[in-house]
C-alpha cells in the first residue's frame, strides 16, 4: 500500500519533469521556481547546448571523489578524463558541507559534489545553475530513485548529476574495542569504557546523529525525522552531545587527522566513512566500520555546476564523466558507496573484479536507500510534516554546536 503510493508520487514527479522539460524556454521568464521547503529558487540560466571545451575545470569535491593518482598512483580517474576531454582538472577537497558552501561562493570552482545538507542552500543562494540533463548522455543510466529528489531538484528541474550514496559508519579499532560494538550507544553511552578516545564528526549536522539515536531510544521525545527537531527535541540532542563531549578525544573534519588518530590509537571508536576505513586498512592497521541495525545518517551526493563557472562546457563534461559508467564506478568504488549509475556496477564487477560490491552497498535497493537518513538542511518548516510547531534551523544548529563543544 505504502509502496504503491510512493510509485504514484514518483510517477507524478516524472510527469511534472516532463512538462517542465516541455515548456523549457518559456519558463525562463518566471521569477524563479518554488521548492517544497518553501523557498524560491533564483532564476539562474540553464545551458541550452554545449560549446567548445575550455581546456580547464576546477573541481570542489569530498575527499576521495576526484583522485588524480597523487594519493596512490593506482587510483586515478581524473587523468583519463583529462586525456579524453583536454580539460585540465584542478581538485580541491573539502571537509564539511559548510566549507563546500562557503568555497563555491567564491566563484573559483566550476563543479562541486554537494550533499543534501548543502544542495538546497546552494540552489537557494543562486550559487549553482540548473543542469540540462539532456546534455548529459550518461544521465539515462542514473537510478531513478536518485533523480528529481527533494535535495537535488526544484519543481522537477534537476540541479546536477547524482554521484552516489552511503551511510556514516560506526567505526572502531577491533584490537581495543572488545566486545565489538553493535549500536551507536557505544559512542553516546554516558559511561563508555572508551572515554577520551571517541571521535565524532565536527559539523553541526552531527546533531542529527544524536537525534537519530534518541529517535530509537527515547520514543517519548517524538522525533520522527532527525533533521526536523523542535526546540525541545534539539535541547535533548544537545544534552546528549554535551554528555558525549566529556569523552571525546577530538572532533574530526580533516580525514587525514582522523586516519592518523585511529592509527596511533588516540581515537578508537567514532563516526567515519568507508573511504577512511579503506585508507587505514591500506596501512595495515586494525579498523572496522559497519552500519548498525538501527540505521545511520548518511549522504546522497549530487555533482552541481557553479552559476559563476568559467568553464561550463568542461563542467558538463566532468558531470557526464563522473556520472558515467567508468568515472562513477571508479569514484564510488574507491570512496565506498553505492554508485548512482546502474552501469557502474558492471564496470566494478569487470574492472575491479568485485562482483559483490554493489550488493554489499545495496546499490539498486531502493527500500534500503530509504532507510538511511540523508543529510538535509534543517529548515523552520518541519521536514517531517508537522505544521503546529516551528523547527530549528541550521543557524540554530550551528550555534548549538558551538555550545556543545563549549
Amino acid at each position: 500500500m505504502k509502496h504503491s503510493r510512493k510509485l504514484v508520487a514518483l510517477a507524478a514527479v516524472a510527469a511534472l519533469s516532463l512538462t517542465v522539460a516541455g515548456c523549457g524556454s518559456s519558463d525562463s521568464g518566471d521569477n524563479g521556481k518554488k521548492a517544497a521547503s518553501g523557498f524560491t529558487a533564483p532564476d539562474v540560466p540553464m545551458a541550452k547546448k554545449l560549446g567548445t571545451l575550455e581546456g580547464a575545470v576546477s573541481i570542489l569535491a569530498w575527499p576521495g571523489y576526484a583522485e588524480d593518482g597523487s594519493n596512490d598512483p593506482k587510483t586515478d580517474w581524473v587523468t583519463p578524463f583529462e586525456k579524453d576531454t583536454g580539460c585540465q582538472a584542478t581538485v580541491k577537497y573539502f571537509g564539511t558541507s559548510d566549507e563546500a558552501v562557503n568555497l563555491i561562493k567564491t566563484g573559483d570552482y566550476d563543479v562541486v559534489s554537494a550533499s543534501g545538507d548543502a544542495t538546497l542552500r546552494l540552489i537557494a543562494g543562486g550559487d549553482v545553475a540548473p543542469v540540462n540533463t539532456d546534455l548529459l548522455t550518461n544521465y539515462a543510466d542514473i537510478r531513478s530513485f536518485l533523480k528529481d529528489q527533494p535535495y537535488n531538484s526544484v519543481d522537477g528541474q534537476m540541479y546536477g548529476m547524482p554521484q552516489g550514496w552511503g551511510a556514516n559508519l560506526l567505526t572502531y579499532n577491533p584490537d581495543v574495542v572488545k566486545p565489538a560494538p553493535t549500536s551507536w550507544s557505544s559512542v553516546f553511552d554516558a559511561s563508555s569504557p572508551y572515554a577520551g578516545k571517541i571521535t565524532p564528526y565536527d559539523s553541526p549536522i552531527y546533531i542529527a546523529d544524536a537525534a537519530l539515536y534518541l529517535m530509537n531510544t527515547k520514543p517519548d521525545l517524538g522525533i520522527k525525522n532527525p533533521y526536523a527537531l523542535d526546540k525541545d527535541q534539539l535541547a535533548a540532542a544537545v544534552d546528549l552531545l554535551k554528555t558525549q563531549r566529556g569523552q571525546v578525544s577530538e572532533y574530526w573534519s580533516d580525514y587525514l587527522k582522523q586516519q592518523q588518530a585511529f592509527e596511533s590509537g588516540d581515537s578508537v571508536i567514532g563516526t567515519s566513512w568507508q573511504f577512511i576505513v579503506n585508507l587505514i586498512e591500506a596501512d595495515k592497521k586494525p579498523i572496522k566500520g559497519f552500519l548498525p541495525d538501527e540505521g545511520s545518517t548518511g549522504w546522497s551526493d549530487t555533482w552541481m555546476i557553479s552559476s559563476k563557472s568559467k568553464h561550463p562546457n568542461c563542467a558538463y563534461a566532468w558531470l557526464d564523466y563522473i556520472g558515467g559508467p567508468e568515472g562513477n564506478a571508479a569514484s564510488a568504488y574507491y570512496f565506498g558507496e553505492a554508485p548512482a549509475s546502474a552501469k557502474a556496477c558492471d564496470v566494478i564487477a569487470t574492472t575491479d573484479k568485485d562482483t559483490t560490491f554493489c550488493d554489499v552497498f545495496h546499490a539498486g535497493d531502493e527500500a534500503y536507500a530509504k532507510k538511511i537518513w540523508y543529510w538535509t538542511t534543517p529548515v523552520s518548516a518541519c521536514l517531517d510534516g508537522r505544521t503546529k510547531v516551528k523547527c530549528t534551523t541550521y543557524a540554530d544548529w550551528t550555534q548549538a554546536w558551538t555550545a556543545i563543544k563549549g
Partner: protein, 276 residues
C-alpha cells in the same frame, strides 16, 4: 638648475606609500571587519545582509558559551605567558651573564633555530609527541590532546619570543650592579628579587605581549593538539569558514582586539613598550 624642493615635501612623498599602506590596507581592513560585525547573514543561503543590527553583539553577551570560551582563551594566554616567562628568565640570565661570548652566540642561534622551521611542522611534531603512543608516553607522561597539551605546545612555539627580549634586557643590566649587591651582602635570591627582576621587568612585559597576543589569536595549534577544546580563534574561524557567518565572526574578533588594547594600555604604564 632647479632648486631642490622643500625637504618637508620630499619627506611627505617618501612617507606616502607606507602611510597609505598603514591607513588603507592595514587599518582599512580592520575597519571593514568592524563594520561587518554590524551586519547579518541570510539564515538559509548564507548571503550577507547589509542592514545595521546589534544582534551579533547581543548574542555574544547573552550566550554563556562565548564567555566561557573567552575566559578559557585568556586563561591559556596567561598560562602560556607564565610558563614562557619562567623558562625564559633562567635561560636568558645564563646567556647574558654566565656564558662566555662564544657560547653566548651559540645559545642565541639555538634559541632562534626553531623559528626556522614552519609553525605547522612544529605543531604536528607536538601532535606526535603528545599522542598516546608518542615519546612522552614512553616517559610515563601522556597528557594526550587537550588543554594541557595545548599550553605545552603553545609555550614551546612562542618561547623564543620571550627569551630574546629578556636576554636583551639582561644585557643592558651592568654586571657591576650584581657585584655591588653581592658586596653589600645580599644573597642570590635577594639580588634576583631586588636588582635583576625590577630592571628586567619591562623586557618581560615586552615578551609577554608576543606570547599573550599570539596565544589569543591561535586556532591552528588548537585544532592539531587541542583535542575537543575550543578557543576564541576557533569560533571565529568556524563561524567564518564553516558556518559562513562573517558578521558574527567579525563581532567575536572584536573581543581579542579589545583585550589587546586594554593589555597594551596597561603595559604602556610600565614603560615596556620602549623595550620592543
Amino acid at each position: 638648475m632647479t632648486r631642490p624642493r622643500a625637504p618637508a615635501g620630499r619627506t611627505g612623498l617618501l612617507l606616502l606609500p607606507p602611510m597609505l599602506w598603514l591607513g588603507v590596507a592595514y587599518l582599512g581592513a580592520l575597519g571593514a571587519l568592524f563594520l561587518a560585525a554590524f551586519w547579518s547573514t541570510n539564515e538559509f543561503t548564507g548571503d550577507l545582509v547589509k542592514v545595521f543590527t546589534l544582534d551579533n553583539f547581543r548574542e555574544l553577551l547573552q550566550a554563556p558559551v562565548y564567555r566561557t570560551i573567552t575566559l578559557r582563551t585568556l586563561g591559556v594566554a596567561v598560562l602560556v605567558t607564565v610558563v614562557d616567562a619562567a623558562l625564559a628568565l633562567p635561560v636568558a640570565f645564563f646567556m647574558a651573564k654566565v656564558a662566555r661570548p662564544g657560547l653566548q652566540r651559540l645559545l642565541v642561534i639555538a634559541v632562534l633555530m626553531p623559528l626556522w622551521a614552519s609553525y605547522l611542522v612544529k605543531a604536528y611534531a607536538w601532535r606526535g609527541m603528545l599522542s598516546h603512543s608518542g615519546p612522552l608516553s614512553w616517559l610515563g607522561i601522556s597528557p594526550g590532546y587537550g588543554l594541557a597539551g595545548l599550553v605545552l605546545t603553545l609555550a614551546y612555539l612562542w618561547l623564543p619570543y620571550m627569551i630574546l627580549p629578556v636576554y636583551a634586557g639582561l644585557q643592558k643590566l651592568p654586571d657591576s650592579l650584581l657585584e655591588a649587591s653581592a658586596d653589600l651582602g645580599a644573597p642570590a635570591l635577594t639580588t634576583f628579587r631586588r636588582v635583576v627582576l625590577p630592571s628586567v621587568f619591562p623586557a618581560l612585559v615586552a615578551g609577554s605581549i608576543f606570547t599573550f597576543s599570539l596565544t589569543m589569536g591561535d586556532y591552528i595549534a588548537v585544532k592539531i593538539v587541542g583535542g575537543p577544546t575550543q578557543m576564541l580563534g576557533n569560533v571565529v574561524a568556524d563561524n567564518y569558514g564553516v558556518a559562513n557567518n562573517l558578521p558574527f565572526a567579525a563581532a567575536y574578533a572584536v573581543v581579542p582586539v579589545l583585550v589587546m588594547l586594554g593589555y597594551l594600555a596597561a603595559v604602556r604604564r610600565t614603560g615596556a613598550l620602549e623595550n620592543l
